[in-house]
Symmetry: C2
């Protein structure tokens, strides 16, 4: 690194998806290394609708590590960021760009500073696992920049140290996070169970539920559950191992009935553990309960599950429909019960993949007004509508894992200034 070369900037931009657990991660056995007390399984969500994009830049002219999230500078001093930076730096490879005359030896990465810019294409506050996408993306882009030779599974163990569920966001499709046994966490890694193309029928609708309550963070929540719930260890040690095997089978066989049953009971059990925590943690609210009742009633009426639901550490419902037809019927039901409040616009109420809205024959707010109660409803109390209970819906699908964006105009950092564009 000669003095005259001070002006170069190297950068890499990547995108990583968020994911939704269908067998839940709740409870750490090691808080620092973020080692879980049970395996978990997730579905990766489509990058187009729910992802983080991150540009990492390095230059000898940078004087310190800096980071901007959604345009706002944030401190990088947190242990979780530092863990990821340290781990990636320690695995860095040599870098050589003959044309530009840039040579970085692997031992020199630790003398260089990074500028990192990241944004989420969905509201951070919505409680949609932005930290999973964010840390997966950070680790993936740093690894690409520094020529880290590790495979995705080894990288997942680093992303895990940023945010546990981030380790599952490197892969697309269906992903298992094996809890592992090693004290140092080396085998607590994510592996891909199946690609997104293995089960391409599935359609996902997310209801972002309005909430005034400030929620317990998942980090705090799971710590309190580990310390106080007298049901948690029974779940983690006795119940989850069998469920993991059953879920792997269900995914392998594309057995939607089993998949839906396991997804729903595991989500409900996770929230049961939260309720068994002292003091109790409530993530679901009355709207979440209504969404569950809607799905349960419809599934029972059909005789075979059409939709699975799962809730993370908040009131939002993630509903996984068997296929496009079931998703269409689900969306009609959702919009019947949860129409937009009067001042809303259609385009900001149903986001993401618009094909489901089209198949449902809904083009305007008047089409929503005209919806009839679903046929499975047999009493008047069940035909009440709740405008405003849901903030908006996102229609999406299982999707790919983290990827590199090659186009320079997708970079979030200016190649001249080294600052966010």
């Amino acid at each position: 690194m000669a003095g005259e070369m001070n002006k170069w900037i190297l950068m890499v931009t990547t995108r990583a998806p968020t994911n939704i657990a269908v067998i839940k991660y709740w409870g750490k056995r090691d808080e620092k290394l973020i080692l879980p007390i049970n395996d978990s399984i997730s579905v990766t969500l489509d990058l187009n609708h729910l992802s983080a994009t991150t540009t990492v830049a390095v230059s000898p002219s940078f004087e310190e590590d800096r980071m901007w999230l959604n345009g706002k500078e944030i401190p990088l001093s947190g242990g979780r960021y530092q863990n990821c930076l340290r781990e990636i730096r320690s695995r860095a490879g040599d870098f050589k760009d003959e044309k530009r005359g840039i040579h970085i030896k692997k031992e020199d990465w630790c003398k260089l500073h990074f500028h990192i810019a990241s944004y989420n294409n969905f509201p951070t506050a919505a409680g949609l696992a932005s930290s999973a996408a964010g840390f997966a993306c950070l680790v993936f882009s740093l690894a690409k920049l520094m020529n880290v030779n590790d495979d995705l599974s080894q990288l997942s163990a680093i992303a895990r140290q940023g945010s546990g569920s981030a380790c599952r966001s490197l892969y697309g499709g269906f992903v298992k996070w094996a809890m592992g046994n090693d004290l140092n966490g080396s085998d607590s890694v994510a592996i891909q169970l199946a690609r997104e193309t293995h089960w391409s029928d599935l359609v996902i609708i997310i209801a972002v539920v309005s909430s005034r309550q400030k929620e317990t963070s998942s980090t705090t929540g799971m710590r309190e559950s580990v310390e106080t719930s007298t049901l948690l260890q029974h779940r983690a040690q006795v119940l989850v191992p069998g469920r993991i095997l059953q879920m792997e089978d269900a995914i392998r066989n594309r057995d939607f009935s089993s998949f839906a049953r396991l997804t729903c009971v595991d989500s409900n059990q996770f929230h049961a553990i939260c309720l068994d925590t002292n003091p109790p943690i409530f993530y679901m609210n009355d709207t979440s309960h209504k969404l569950i009742n809607l799905v349960e009633r419809w599934n029972r009426h059909e005789g075979t599950p059409q939709v699975a639901y799962t809730f993370d550490a908040g009131p939002n419902a993630v509903m996984i429909a068997k296929d496009q037809k079931a998703a269409t019927h689900l969306l009609q039901r959702l919009l019947f019960y949860f129409p937009p409040p009067p001042e809303n616009e259609m385009s900001s109420y149903v986001l993401g993949d618009k094909t489901i809205l089209q198949e449902a024959g809904i083009q305007s707010l008047n089409d929503i007004k005209a919806l009839r109660p679903p046929p499975e409803v047999n009493n008047e109390a069940s035909t009440r509508r709740y405008p405003g209970d849901v903030s908006y819906f996102i229609c999406t699908r299982p999707g790919k894992g983290a990827l590199v964006l090659e186009e320079e105009d997708e970079a979030l950092i200016d190649t001249q200034t080294g600052l966010p564009k």
Copy 2:
């Protein structure tokens, strides 16, 4: 029983309280005999505020068994009524009233018919364990009428066959329902742990929570939990036995901190089991959650519990305050957050023991309007008020068990007609 004596009517009137479990009963091992899967412990509530009153009358002129509940005739054909009637009849003793010339031999009771009138002094629909008070009262009055020699504990095994928790309503104070071991249920009986005078400081405030949802009956709910919850047996077999011992200690030592902790965690665990049921059962709603948060925040602020909360199969909160002072402060907090809706009157909003309202310095709706947020509140979001979320409050205390009402004007059946007054 000579023909000329056809006109006589014999009757007995008794009153029995409702009770609130502090270690919950949830799950039967025998549906027919109503045998539970774990012991439970309850506090009996004051007869003056929450009780059933029942008159049972017998006469050779009655042609069939008939019953009126709250003035309305109801069928007695249900298995639970029949079980209680059969069991009591089989234990009947001889009856002799020399003055009136009435002789009934014990074997003749089965040839006679009963008229039964019962009413609750609280709304049946409020979800306040009316069946516990009702069956305790029915069995107690029948036993008194038929000169049954059994002690209360033996009678409790009969009341149990009407409604499980009814067995705990025969005694006052603090009551344990031992699950028992016998296949025939003979040792699944209630025993008194302590009289109500043993711990007379306690004050109880019930928030009857408004709800539009139709709830799963507790009979159906616990059957579904037994069939589908994978946490229920762990609770019943591993966790509850220790809690029962700890709760007995807490009651014996009037140790409010332990009593409150055990009461709250057991209520929350019972609701966790409901959530772990497939499909999940939600008894608590957003208002219930707010009530819990209010109590938890205040207890934490005080450093030592002031109030315990517990919820049965519905959204109503039963809050047990350490003493009159704590109850006064609790009621101020409750009325701050949950004022009556505009059209309400004070006298129909806080029912029962009015002394707590007086000590709280609240005489009018304007006094409620003028209440300030509690000192433990540290952010604006926590000062929002929710008029209409609570239907009304009932202030009460631990109370006596079932008793005979000797005054003839307290009877619910007319001595001339044999029909409800």
